[in-house]
C-alpha cells in the first residue's frame, strides 16, 4: 500500500485545489475586472503625490470651473477645475485616498468587532450566543444612515469621526455570517478531535475555525467596504462627512450640485468614479465567493 505508483493514488492525481482555484479565478471575468480596477485605484491613491498634476488644495479663483479637455478645456487641467479653481484631476486622485482609506479602515474595524462577536457566539453558544444575538438585533434595529447622521452632527464631521462611526456601525453582517458559519463548523469532527487532544480554545479558534470561515469573511469585507465608501460619500454630500478642503468624491458631487444645470461634468466625473469603484469592489467580492466556494453559487 505504500507504493506511490498505486493505480488508485495515480487516479486522484490531477490539478491540486490551489491550481483549481487559480484556473477558476482566471476564467472569472467579474473578478478579473473588479480586481484590476480596485488594484488600479489603490495604486493611484498610493502614488497620489507623484500622479497629481497640481496641488489639490491650491486655489485659483481667477480660473474657476474650467471645463475638462473633452469639453473644450486645455491639458493644463485635464478634468477641468472646480468652483474654487482647484485642479479637478488632482482632487479626484487625492479623493481616491480618502474613499479607499475610509472603506478599508471602516471595514477593518467592523470586521474585527463583528468577527470576534460572531465566532465567539457560534463557538461558545449558550449565554454568549444570547448576548451577541441580542446585540445584533439591537444594531439591526438602528437605521445606519440616520445614526451616522446624528452622531456626525453632534461630534462634527471629520475624517476620523466618519471612519470611527462607520467602523462601529457596520459590524452586523460580519457578526451574523461569522456566527452562522462558526456554528456549522464547530460541530465538525475535527473540532471535537482538537478538543479531545487538549488544544487550547484560542488555538482551536485561530487555527481550526478561522481558516474555514475565511472565504465568507472576505466576501463580507468587500461588501462592507463598498457600503462604507457609499455612506461616506452620502455623509459628505450632506455636508456632514469629510470637511473641506479635504477632497472627497461625495463632497465634490455636493459642491458641483449647484452648477449641475450648466456644468454637469462637475457632478458627473466624481459620480462616475464613485460608481466604478463601488461596482468593482462588489464584483470582486462576488467573484471571490464564486471562486472560493463554487458550491454556494446561485
Amino acid at each position: 500500500m505504500s507504493d506511490v505508483t498505486d493505480p488508485l493514488a495515480r487516479e486522484i492525481e490531477g490539478p491540486s485545489p490551489r491550481q483549481m482555484l487559480k484556473s477558476r479565478a482566471a476564467s472569472h471575468k467579474g473578478l478579473i475586472f473588479g480586481m484590476s480596477v480596485v488594484a488600479f485605484l489603490v495604486l493611484v491613491a498610493l502614488l497620489a503625490p507623484v500622479l497629481a498634476p497640481h496641488d489639490p488644495y491650491a486655489q485659483s479663483l481667477m480660473k474657476r470651473m474650467v471645463p475638462p479637455v473633452f469639453m473644450g478645456g486645455t491639458w493644463e487641467h485635464p478634468l477641468g477645475t472646480d468652483h474654487l479653481g482647484r485642479d479637478y484631476l488632482s482632487r479626484l486622485i487625492y479623493g481616491a485616498r480618502v474613499s479607499l482609506m475610509i472603506g478599508a479602515i471602516a471595514a477593518l474595524i467592523s470586521g474585527v468587532i463583528g468577527t470576534a462577536m460572531g465566532v465567539a457566539a457560534g463557538y461558545f453558544g449558550g449565554k454568549v450566543d444570547a448576548v451577541v444575538t441580542f446585540l445584533i438585533n439591537v444594531r439591526l434595529a438602528m437605521p445606519v444612515v440616520l445614526v451616522a447622521l446624528a452622531v456626525v452632527a453632534i461630534l462634527g464631521g471629520s475624517l476620523t469621526v466618519v471612519i470611527c462611526v462607520l467602523g462601529l456601525l457596520l459590524w452586523d453582517r460580519f457578526a451574523v455570517v461569522m456566527r452562522a458559519s462558526t456554528l456549522q463548523i464547530s460541530r465538525r469532527d475535527y473540532i471535537a478531535a482538537a478538543q479531545v487532544i487538549g488544544a487550547s480554545t484560542p488555538r482551536i479558534l485561530l487555527s481550526e475555525i478561522m481558516p474555514n470561515v475565511f472565504n465568507n469573511l472576505i466576501v463580507i469585507v468587500t461588501l462592507e467596504m463598498a457600503h462604507a465608501i457609499l455612506l461616506e460619500a452620502a455623509l459628505s454630500f450632506l455636508g456632514l462627512g469629510v470637511q473641506p478642503p479635504t477632497p472627497s468624491w461625495g463632497l465634490m458631487v455636493s459642491e458641483g450640485k449647484n452648477m449641475m444645470l450648466f456644468e454637469p461634468w462637475l457632478v458627473l466625473i466624481p459620480g462616475v468614479v464613485l460608481f466604478v469603484l463601488v461596482l468593482a469592489i462588489n464584483l470582486m467580492g462576488d467573484g471571490l465567493r464564486d471562486v472560493t466556494a463554487p458550491e454556494g453559487r446561485s
Partner: protein, 506 residues
C-alpha cells in the same frame, strides 16, 4: 385620477395637462406674476419673522407712517402726511385721512396707538426687539393726530418708522393676534394677501383702492409666490415658463442665464456685509486671536479683491469698515489691510506662531465663500477645522462665546444707519467678541446724540479703534441677482427688497 384608472391614455392626459396648463398660468395674458422664494417664511406677520422674505411681504401688504424713497433716500409721508419732533423724545404725526385697511376698517389714530403699544411691549415678543424697543408708547391727540413717545433719544427713529415699523388694524389685530395675522394678513398696502399656504405659496392681489401713496399704484393684478428651496429647480421652472421672476440667484448661475436672451438679469448691491469675527476678548479660552498681531495677520491674509471679482461679482465691493459704506456714520477713513500674505506670515511669526496654528473655523452660509476664505488662511499657516452650521446653531454657540473665528454676515435690516450693525455687535452684548470699553463709550454717545456731527465723530472714533485693533476682518458687501422674463419690467433697488408695486408688464 391616476390612481383610479392607471391606463396609458389617462397618464398621457395627465402629463399633457401638467405640461400645457402650468406654463399657461404664468404670463402677461393671465396677469399673474409667478415668483419663487428660496426660504420658508415662519410667519407672515412682519413683527414675528426676521427673514428677508418677510421684509418683502411686509412692504407689499402694509405701510409705515413714513416712506423712504429707495432712490433718493428722502423721507416722505405715507400713512402720515407730516411729522415733527415735539421734543427730543416725542414725535407728532398728522395722519392721512380716508385710508382703509383691506378688510374695510378705516385707518386712524387708534390703529397707530394700538400697533405701537403692542409691539413696544416686550412681553408680546416681537422677534427683532431692536426694531421696536426704542418706542415707549403712543398717545392719541385726535382722530388724525398721534404722538409717539420714545424711551430715550433715538436719532434713527425716522429710519425705523420708514422701515420695519408698519401699521396694523387695531380691531382685527386685537382679535386675530400674530398667528391669525400670519394666516390672513390685513394691512393698508398696495397688495392684499388672498391666500396663505404655509411652506407652499402666497397669493397677492392688487389693492384696487390703494391710497395715493409714495409707493405708487400696483400694476400687476396677481402675484403667486411659491417656496422652492433648490436653485436648480427654480431655474428649470423659469425655463419651462412656470416662474416669471427669481432672485438671490448665485453669480455663476446668473451669468449663464444672462447669456440666454429670454431673461433680464439685474444686479444690485445689498446692505449685507461679510466679515470674519475673531475672539479678541478670549471668551473661547486661550486663543491666538487675543493677540492683535494675529488678528492683523488674518486681515492681511485675505485677498478681498479676488473674492469680490471671482466669487461675489456684480455690485459687490471690498470693505474695510465693519459697516456698509452708505450707512450714516460709516466713515471710510479707517485702517485698511491690503492683501499681503508675506506680511501676514511675518506678523504671525512675530506673535510667536512661526509655523502657524490650528483653529476651529465656523460658517453658516455661502459655503463656497467660506471655503475660499479658509484657503487664504491655510496659505499663511492658519490651519482650519471647517464647521458649517445652521444660522441658529452658530448664533447660539457664538452667544456663549465658544467661537474662536467665524465667517459672519449682517444685513442691518436694510437700515441706513451704522448703529444697525456697529452698535449691534460692539456694545458688550452676547455677540460682542471684542468687548472694548472705549468703543462702547463712543457708541453710546453716537447712538443717543441728536446732533449729526457728534454722531459721525463718535462713530469715526469707534470705527478707527475697531479697524486699528482688527477686531473683525470686514471683507465685502453682498449683491443680489434678480432674474426675470423679458416681458416683466422692473428696476431693483439697492436695499435687497423686492418691490412688487414697482413691477409691471411690458
Amino acid at each position: 385620477m391616476l390612481a383610479k384608472s392607471p391606463t396609458r391614455s389617462s397618464f398621457l392626459a395627465a402629463v399633457l395637462m401638467a405640461g400645457v396648463a402650468m406654463p399657461a398660468l404664468a404670463d402677461k395674458a393671465s396677469g399673474t406674476l409667478d415668483v419663487a422664494f428660496t426660504k420658508e417664511l415662519e410667519n407672515v406677520d412682519s413683527y414675528f419673522n426676521s427673514s428677508r422674505e418677510g421684509v418683502v411681504l411686509q412692504r407689499a401688504i402694509w405701510d409705515g407712517l413714513i416712506y423712504r424713497n429707495p432712490e433718493t433716500n428722502e423721507y416722505v409721508g405715507n400713512l402720515a402726511t407730516s411729522w415733527e419732533w415735539v421734543d427730543d423724545t416725542t414725535l407728532e404725526f398728522k395722519l392721512r385721512e380716508g385710508v382703509t385697511f383691506h378688510n374695510g376698517e378705516p385707518f386712524n389714530a387708534d390703529d397707530v396707538v394700538f400697533t405701537v403699544d403692542f409691539v413696544a411691549n416686550e412681553e408680546n415678543g416681537v422677534k427683532t426687539q431692536r426694531n421696536v424697543n426704542w418706542m415707549d408708547y403712543a398717545e392719541k391727540i385726535d382722530d388724525y393726530t398721534v404722538r409717539i413717545h420714545l424711551k430715550e433719544k433715538f436719532p434713527a427713529a425716522i429710519e425705523f418708522l420708514s422701515g420695519p415699523v408698519s401699521m396694523y388694524p387695531n380691531e382685527y389685530y386685537a382679535e386675530a393676534g400674530p398667528s391669525g395675522m400670519g394666516l390672513k394678513p390685513v394691512g393698508t398696502g398696495p397688495y392684499k394677501m388672498v391666500d396663505v399656504v404655509p411652506g407652499q405659496h402666497f397669493v397677492l392681489e392688487a389693492n384696487e383702492s390703494y391710497h395715493d401713496s409714495p409707493k405708487g399704484q400696483p400694476e400687476i393684478a396677481k402675484i403667486d409666490i411659491r417656496t422652492i428651496p433648490d436653485v436648480n429647480t427654480q431655474m428649470a421652472e423659469l425655463f419651462s415658463g412656470s416662474l416669471d421672476l427669481i432672485w438671490q440667484v448665485p453669480a455663476d448661475q446668473a451669468n449663464k442665464l444672462a447669456q440666454m436672451d429670454q431673461f433680464t438679469v439685474a444686479n444690485e448691491s445689498t446692505m449685507r456685509v461679510g466679515y470674519l469675527q475673531m475672539d479678541a476678548a478670549g471668551r473661547s479660552g486661550d486663543t491666538p486671536f487675543t493677540n492683535k498681531l494675529v488678528r492683523q495677520a488674518v486681515n492681511y491674509a485675505i485677498n478681498r479683491q479676488e473674492l469680490v471679482d471671482a466669487l461675489l461679482q456684480g455690485a459687490s465691493k471690498v470693505v474695510y469698515t465693519p459697516c456698509f459704506p452708505s450707512q450714516f456714520g460709516c466713515v471710510q477713513d479707517v485702517t485698511e489691510y491690503e492683501y499681503n500674505p508675506e506680511k501676514a506670515k511675518e506678523l504671525l511669526a512675530e506673535a510667536g506662531y512661526p509655523d502657524g496654528f490650528t483653529v476651529d473655523f465656523y460658517a453658516y452660509r455661502d459655503r463656497q465663500y467660506a471655503e475660499a476664505i479658509t484657503s487664504y488662511l491655510n496659505a499663511v499657516g492658519i490651519k482650519t477645522n471647517f464647521n458649517m452650521l445652521q444660522y441658529s446653531a452658530l448664533r447660539e454657540i457664538n452667544m456663549k462665546g465658544e467661537v474662536p473665528i467665524s465667517f459672519q454676515t449682517w444685513g442691518s435690516y436694510s437700515i441706513n444707519d451704522a448703529s444697525a450693525i456697529v452698535s449691534q455687535f460692539f456694545k458688550h452684548g452676547s455677540l460682542d467678541s471684542a468687548r472694548d470699553d472705549e468703543v462702547l463709550e463712543w457708541l453710546n454717545v453716537a447712538d443717543s446724540s441728536t446732533d449729526p456731527d457728534t454722531r459721525v465723530d463718535n462713530y469715526a472714533k469707534a470705527l478707527n479703534k475697531i479697524t486699528e485693533e482688527a477686531y473683525w476682518a470686514p471683507m465685502f458687501t453682498y449683491n443680489t441677482n434678480y432674474v426675470f422674463k423679458d416681458e416683466v419690467s422692473y428696476t431693483p433697488t439697492a436695499d435687497e427688497v423686492l418691490r412688487f408695486v414697482d413691477m409691471s408688464w411690458k
